[in-house]
């Protein structure tokens, strides 16, 4: 068995909710509430869930943009959970992020050349001439003309800007890239260009991805394994084929059923999930999914389920799907 590149155990990120006259925090937003996962070298772990399920927060904790409140993150054999800002800088070479909105994540006042050179300057790598050489290489890798270096982000389309964001992320030859909804803001014909690029880069450079998105079809396409999140917890995880063909958790099943299928012959009658995602500030007792679950029973209201192995590599967190003891 290969050793994982990333190992997350019992990760929690509880944001204090300030309220009252003295802004004291008595309650917490449990955005990420006990998540464990692994990513192997060269592997893509897809993370899906609806807005507010904590998937972006989890990604940001792993990139150590947030300081998690509990749990551990071990990257390449080293515990990075409590690294200080100064100690984090070398880590940034190995873990990079691609964000959803390339317009907001690229500095509008810098040229593309400046943006792509900055990682090298921060890490004190290369001479100025070498840096410009690297920028030209990066632009070539992501399929942009070399003259783009002297232009500004607004001069590019959404898809091209996302290519710039990807070029910046791969500049320092990272081992892990956290892609937070990298194609959600793009049109379908552009979306497939970016997905192909991400897959090619992975094959060429042996990258690992944590691929965060709300679109299960997209996630399934790029991922080796998929984890489904609901209200701060992973409720099912399996390899991407299994999650689509043999999902067990009622939430995963309804998530798959809810996807509109681009085939007019399949006029399916689906079980539409009622209600909204509850607030992570005051999650329901027992299983967090029980108020919306079509199969909820008494035990679901009383006892929170834990993630248990259903079969080889397939884990689920639901009282109704555990194998008999």
């Amino acid at each position: 068995m290969t050793t994982p590149l990333l190992e997350v155990r019992g990760l929690e990120m509880h944001f204090p909710v300030k309220e009252g006259l003295l802004l004291r925090s008595r309650i917490f937003n449990r955005a990420v509430d006990g998540v464990s996962l692994q990513i192997k070298p060269g592997e893509t772990l897809g993370l899906v869930g609806e807005s507010g399920c904590g998937k972006s927060t989890l990604g940001r904790c792993i990139a150590r943009l947030y300081q998690p409140t509990a749990g551990s993150i071990v990257f390449n054999g080293r515990d990075i959970t409590r690294l200080k800002p100064r100690e984090l800088r070398p880590l940034r070479q190995d873990i990079q992020m691609v964000f959803q909105d390339p317009m907001e994540s690229l500095n509008a006042r810098h040229t593309v050349g400046d943006i792509l050179e900055e990682p090298f300057i921060v890490q004190r790598l290369h001479s100025p001439a070498e840096r410009r050489q690297r920028v030209a290489e990066l632009l070539n890798i992501v399929g942009l003309p070399a003259r783009s270096a002297s232009r500004y982000p607004f001069e590019f389309s959404g898809g091209q800007r996302q290519r710039i964001g990807i070029a910046r992320a791969i500049a320092l030859n990272p081992k892990l890239i956290i892609c937070d909804e990298p194609v959600s803001a793009l049109d379908v014909s552009i979306q497939s260009q970016i997905l192909n690029l991400l897959i090619e880069l992975q094959q060429e450079f042996g990258l690992s991805y944590l691929f965060i998105a709300h679109d299960l079809a997209v996630v399934k396409h790029v991922s080796d394994r998929v984890a489904v999140m609901y209200l701060g917890k992973i409720i099912e995880t399996a390899d991407s084929d299994t999650i689509y063909r043999a999902a067990r958790h009622p939430y995963t099943k309804s998530l798959i059923e809810a996807i509109p299928v681009p085939d007019p012959h399949r006029k399916i009658s689906r079980q539409v999930l009622s209600g909204d995602v509850p607030s992570p500030i005051n999650p329901p007792h027992g299983c967090a999914f029980h108020p919306r679950c079509p199969e909820a029973q008494d035990q679901c209201r009383q006892k929170a389920p834990t993630l248990q192995a259903l079969s080889e590599g397939h884990w689920g967190s639901c009282h109704l799907i555990y194998p008999p003891v």
């Binding site: 959404g158 192909n196 709300h214 790029v222 509109p260 085939d263 909204d276």
Partner: protein
């Protein structure tokens, strides 16, 4: 005669760099009770088409430069504003993409919901609150009486979109225009909203124009489909024509580029190379020419017009017979 007949519609915007024709020679019909989808990518003119029908183009920049929009016995392009006010909201309802911007944050749900009903006298002032509560109940909002006194920020995104739908339906319109009604919502909420629109349509017998970039939504909800590209209709036909027998290279490219749940993971997706041309420097010939894998020199010379393939299936491509 169809309920709505859009013919050779052209809509222009005055910009600093010159006049931009965002919708150019767009024609389609909507039969009573039917659902017509308009699909295309950002900037293809699908929302501008909707705003033209509603006569809600941003003023003074936007104007309808040509063509006609026949709805029942009126040509909407020539109606005066007061006459249009009688149709808008009463005969044609509209659902916008962003439920937060479509609702006024400083008015209660009740006030916004009853405004149209009172204006169009769909309901007397005494019964209007009860009618509004019934509507909220109908669109699946729990405890509607309490919600009527609440403000938009107190509702979730899905609930807000239900309110917007309730507003659009408050006067029982004959036509509902839904502009990306579920794009801002999560998939499970999207499924709820699409189901709701379908149920209400069956119940009230209204026609729906569904504007979206999501081919899945189109396949699930529509009878007829109009595929738009750079301001023009690229292809139109029944939903089966479009998905089973796509004739335009753009439609084919779109269908190939979406990852489906049954495609092989990490396989290469189809792509449409390049980008949509800017509306200020459109090519003289076919607008898809710079991205088309089947392009021949003749494509750059003359813009193809919509040619009938069979029945209602038409395509704007000069090479469709050879492809």
């Amino acid at each position: 005669m169809a309920l709505l007949e859009v013919a050779q519609l052209a809509t222009e915007f005055a910009t600093d760099e010159g006049v931009v024709r965002a919708v150019d020679d767009v024609s389609f019909d909507v039969e009573a009770g039917a659902t017509v989808g308009i699909v295309g990518e950002s900037g293809c003119g699908k929302s501008v088409t909707a705003l033209s029908i509603m006569r809600l183009l941003p003023q003074p920049a936007g104007r309808i430069a040509g063509g006609s929009i026949r709805f029942q016995d009126h040509d909407l392009t020539t109606l005066s504003l007061p006459e249009m006010g009688q149709i808008r909201g009463r005969k044609i309802g509209m659902v916008f993409q962003e439920p937060m911007t479509a609702l006024n944050p400083v008015h209660t749900i009740g006030r916004q919901l009853t405004e149209g009903m009172l204006l169009h006298k769909a309901c007397g002032p005494r019964d209007v609150l009860r009618a509004a509560a019934n509507l909220l109940d109908r669109v699946g909002i729990p405890s509607p009486d309490i919600r009527l006194g609440e403000y938009p920020h107190q509702l979730s995104g899905g609930m807000r979109q239900r309110v917007v739908i309730a507003m659009a339906l408050s006067c029982r319109p004959d036509l509902l225009i839904a502009d990306e009604p579920t794009t801002a919502l999560d998939v499970t909420i999207q499924a709820q909203i699409l189901e709701l629109i379908k149920d209400l349509q069956a119940e009230m017998g209204m026609a729906v124009v569904m504007i979206t970039h999501d081919l899945g939504v189109i396949a699930e909800t529509c009878d007829q489909v109009v595929v738009m590209y750079a301001g023009k209709v690229a292809e139109c036909g029944s939903v089966f024509d479009i998905f089973d027998r796509p004739a335009h290279p753009y439609t084919r490219g779109l269908l190939d580029s979406i990852p489906r749940l049954d495609t092989i993971p990490k396989s290469r997706l189809g792509v449409i190379e390049g980008m949509v041309p800017g509306l200020l420097d459109l090519p003289a010939g076919c607008r898809f020419e710079n991205r088309c894998p089947f392009v021949v020199p003749a494509c750059g010379e003359q813009a193809p017009s919509l040619a009938q393939i069979e029945g209602q299936h038409s395509v704007a491509c000069s090479r469709w017979q050879q492809l």
